[in-house]
Symmetry: C2
Subunit: 328 residues, 2 copies
């Protein structure tokens, strides 16, 4: 029997989950819930009901796992604890600093209800977290390095858009190639913020705006840009839409460690992602986590989990026998 999946929220992530579920042989999409008027929402899948989020309580016996596709700033801190009282749930909460608090809130709800909720699934947090935890467990004496990009940073793009005279903007975070190489070679460099990433901005100005003033304001913006080598390009809105609408992203996680009686042996573990579509990769992780959540719930587990708590085999649609015979 297929695992019955529902989606709450039909933005980039919701559409990605819809695609990923349709590609999974062992899952079916049973409903899309929305806070908008369902009549105004047209989804890709034929024959799947679009339902008001206010009716979700009537669906508790029809859904195995609810995938929460809202944002981390305001949606998920409220939604995941709320819906983990009704359903096994999965989210992509990615505000690293607030994970302990979110975990505690979701854990209380899910434990009380006897449900499993997996939070912070995606690639960072998510696959990058796994890379860090495995490599730290294996090489306790060493250094961690995480690089992001090349890809669009939504937060930095938003910060530019708030500047007076800016009509639209996209900001790319780019790892510094020489820093990657030094880490890859086991040199264990101490890297400043500026030495790890550069920032490249594509900016559309309002009519009559002062380009030099905007460029200065971007480059001197504290936290966001002042500590980086930043390049600013002014382009037309047409160019922005044509050349900078993609959602590619990626990054690198390294652990550079030492073993041996005199710590004479170096080891470098590298995990990297090169993604054409950040949201579609994230949702591919979400549905693998949904598969695991349903299995763990079926075993009688309950409470909040992260990717760190999931036996890897539970993420796969293949049996243990198949995995041991072909992938181990």
């Amino acid at each position: 029997m297929s695992t019955r999946i529902a989606i709450l929220g039909y933005g980039n992530l919701g559409r990605g989950v819809e695609l990923a579920v349709s590609a999974a042989p062992d899952m079916e999409l049973v409903a899309v819930f929305t806070r908008r008027d369902p009549a105004t929402l047209s989804i890709k899948s034929a024959g799947i009901p679009v339902v008001s989020a206010s009716d979700i309580e009537n669906w508790t016996d029809k859904i195995d796992v609810l995938i929460l596709c809202g944002g981390s700033a305001t949606d998920l801190p409220e939604q995941t604890p709320k819906y983990a009282k009704l359903f096994n749930a999965v989210d992509s909460f990615d505000t690293h600093a607030r994970i302990p608090e979110h975990f505690a809130n979701v854990d209380a709800s899910a434990k009380a209800a006897g449900k499993v909720a997996v939070i912070s699934c995606g690639w960072d947090p998510g696959m990058f977290s796994l890379a860090r935890v495995y490599s730290n467990a294996i090489l306790p004496d060493g250094n961690d390095y995480t690089f992001w990009g090349k890809g669009v940073s939504q937060g930095h793009s938003d910060a530019i858009r708030l500047i007076k005279g800016v009509k639209n903007a996209k900001q790319y975070t780019i790892p510094v190639e020489s820093a990657l190489e030094a880490v890859r070679n086991g040199e264990n460099p101490e890297l400043t913020t500026r030495q790890k990433h550069t920032r490249e901005c594509f900016v559309v100005l309002e009519d009559g705006a002062d380009a030099a003033a905007v460029e200065k304001e971007i480059k001197e913006m504290p936290n966001y840009f002042a500590d980086y080598d930043t390049t600013v390009h002014f382009i037309s809105e047409d160019e922005l839409l044509r050349d900078h609408s993609g959602m590619a992203h990626g990054g690198f996680v390294f652990r550079s460690g030492r073993t041996g009686a005199d710590k004479e042996h170096k080891h470098v573990i590298e995990y990297s992602l090169k993604l054409d579509s950040n949201p579609e990769f994230t949702t591919s992780v979400l549905i693998a986590a949904a598969r695991a959540a349903f299995r763990m719930a079926g075993e009688g587990q309950k409470g909040c989990k992260t990717m760190l708590d999931i036996p890897p085999a539970y993420l796969s649609e293949k049996s243990g026998e198949e995995l041991r015979a072909h992938l181990l």
Copy 2:
């Protein structure tokens, strides 16, 4: 309280476990068991008893996890099922084709005894298996690529040493850089055996041996060399010992997958290892698995497990709270 670790077999792996346990804050080495006369064995650690393997049954209440450091050809198929009747156990069984059979034998012993035994820990099988399983679960539509090297292949070195006129030899397996690049770029190449790896041999001849004949015999050896571009260097025994005694190894695991309504988005996941000491890295994985085995046994789990069955957090000496706050 520290987890009490014992070692069976004091070769490269046994010595690596000894080092890794001494570097682990939450573990202590309590004994080294050997099939040799214990009086002939001198170990690095002061004050740790060296005990005959025939006395191991008297140690069942003094050991939390026994780490089996024998070879996969003949030692482990016999030892792991035997000792999983007495102890939680971990091994590095690496004969891929025989894993299902070894799993079944160990599972029967460990289940009957209420013990946990983790088999096939190391990097391949082990960390590379994890890379394959995670990336297949996330990108079900895609291609897998595993490359090994640069590093010494023991099996290929042994095959050369069996040739008449050869005194000693080391064989390096080397991934083809252009193949790595094509995979890394998401080109999904179809690669023949010859296109993936080259083989480089350093050979010491017996006095009076026919170099041309030896080179021909190596290059034409079925399975081992005939399907590869192979280079043969003849060197002196001194040069072999001086330049080719290292135990460096490594490799690359890729998953190149597609998502999207029209499969228009490519994603490349890459996991790679660059290791100065193959045995010390392997044993670092073994002791992380030992930590997990003891935790799983403490929860009442029993039977044979692989890295695919272990929640990643169980491999770490850090608490769930610490991992969520700092590495997630």
